[in-house]
Amino acid sequence: MNIYDIIFYIFALATVGSAFMVVTTRNIVHAAFYLLLTFFGVTGIYVLLTADFVAIVQLVVYVGGILILLIFGVMLTNKITNVQIKTGSLQLFPAAIGVGLFAGILVSALLNTEWKTAAGEAPKTTLNGLGFLLMNEYIIVFEVLGVLLLVALVGAASIARK
């Protein structure tokens, strides 16, 4: 076990542990901050996989954007001071059955899949290849997505103005 393995396990532990805390903690704001840690852990794992672009996008989009919006949402919809923001547990049994089923499917998929291990080095940098692919092979998909996001933006703005 070399040092990279140890770092991986630290990140993995942080990810899984904080993800667990997200669902078990009863304080919504704590949950949001645990989610931040989860995303951060995932970012670390991406870095270990030398997927640096994805890692940083993860950091920007999730940590910087979605999480902040989440916190805004939490804060603006509740009393803010001197109130313990807590959620109750509803419908424990149906949830347990659903989660159990889903976990079963996942585990069986994990066990029954034949994992292929590819040989060869991971690329030193992913950015150039990614840019090249996006601008050549997948240009239409890229453009369509861009237009879609623009439409969503304009729509959101027009709804907000009403």
Binding site: V63, I68, I71, M75, L127
Partner: protein
């Protein structure tokens, strides 16, 4: 370079990486913060017709040291009804965010924490952590003023990231790289190769770039001012409205960490501006090391030039702080969304057109 040297010295990747990651903190951030606080005081004092600290050491140069000693000795107060774990983590998170940015800042061709291809993008991304820390601090203090400050800060930083990114995108269009070292190397030679003066292209195209580059520089400088909450965009800690914003409830070392993070951030954003538009670590007038044929002198000169440029932009930040009043929240947002972003967009299009043609 430093890394290779350390690798040879210690013989272990881990130790080398560890020492290298600590270098910016001890070699740069702490001395810089000490210096910058003193600079801020002296700059403000001389702008206001007074002397500033004069008693501790010659012309008060030890004032910051005395302050640090005072802050370390201070009682660490945790408000009773605060959210204690978050309250304690927040300053660490804020400092982590600003410290992480230093990993990708090229102090010289031989001294860069991590020479990654996504350098610029990385710096912008990790500043998001600072916002999370500020929000955490504001919420955990359980105080309306801190919460308002934190909310303002989050809204402000997220908004101003957009023009920053747009300007960075124009640079990417021109140069085709996000790597700060490559960016600096591109601007090598003399100061007319700096991006602000059109970059290392030749001929009439260069002239066409200059206005766009200048606009881009102004936009990114304003946005970075807003991202580090400096006047005239210091509304998250507007002392006349929100007492002192998100760090109202902090004292002692935790306050010192916010303080340190603020000054580290100031330098980090100044460094981005310097690296992108003002040649990074490149000297404007050529190197003494080249003339004298002493090659090891060049990285040291580069370090000097980079620090000089960074400190100059920090000085401009202070200059603005002690001159301008503060904007209101809605005006701040209007400035970002109604002026900076559209201008940055148009600028991006123009640069794109020039590049394509």
């Amino acid at each position: 370079m430093i890394y290779d040297f350390l690798l040879k010295l210690t013989g272990s990747e881990i130790a080398a990486g560890f020492i290298q990651s600590l270098l910016p903190l001890f070699v740069f951030i702490l001395p810089f913060a000490l210096f910058a606080v003193l600079l801020e005081r002296k700059v403000s004092a001389h702008m206001q017709d007074r002397l500033g600290p004069m008693r501790t050491g010659y012309h008060g140069i030890l004032q910051t040291v005395a302050d640090i000693i005072k802050l370390v000795q201070k009682e660490d107060i945790v408000p009773t009804n605060s959210d204690k774990p978050l309250f304690n983590i927040a300053p660490v998170l804020v400092f982590t965010g600003s410290y992480a940015a230093f990993a990708a800042i090229p102090f010289s061709s031989a001294f860069i924490g991590s020479n990654i291809d996504l350098g610029l993008f990385f710096i912008v991304a990790v500043s998001g952590l600072v916002v999370a820390g500020i929000l955490m601090a504001g919420w955990a203090s359980n105080n309306k003023y801190t919460l308002l400050g934190a909310m303002r800060s989050a809204a402000q930083v997220i908004s101003y990231e957009i023009p920053t990114m747009l300007v960075i995108l124009t640079i990417v269009m021109m140069t085709g790289t996000l790597n700060l070292t490559t960016l600096s190397e591109l601007q090598t030679g003399y100061f007319w190769n700096w991006m602000i003066l059109g970059g290392p292209v030749a001929g009439l195209v260069k002239l066409a770039f200059i206005p766009s580059m200048f606009i881009g520089f102004v936009i990114i400088y304003i946005s970075t001012l807003a991202e580090v909450n400096r006047t005239p965009f210091d509304i998250p800690e507007a002392e006349s409205e929100l007492v002192s914003g998100y760090h109202t409830e902090y004292s002692g070392m935790k306050f010192a960490m916010f303080f340190l993070a603020e000054y580290a951030n100031m330098f980090a954003v100044s460094a981005i501006v310097a690296a992108v538009f003002f040649g990074g670590y490149q000297s404007p007038i050529g190197y003494l090391g080249n003339t004298l044929d002493i090659l090891w002198l060049i990285p040291i000169e580069q370090f000097f030039w980079f620090t000089f440029k960074g400190v100059f932009f920090v000085f401009v930040q202070m200059w603005l702080r002690w001159t301008l009043p503060r904007l209101r929240v809605d005006q701040l947002m209007a400035l970002c969304w109604k002026y900076l972003i559209p201008i940055a967009f148009v600028n991006l299009l123009i640069v794109g057109l020039i590049t394509v043609l």
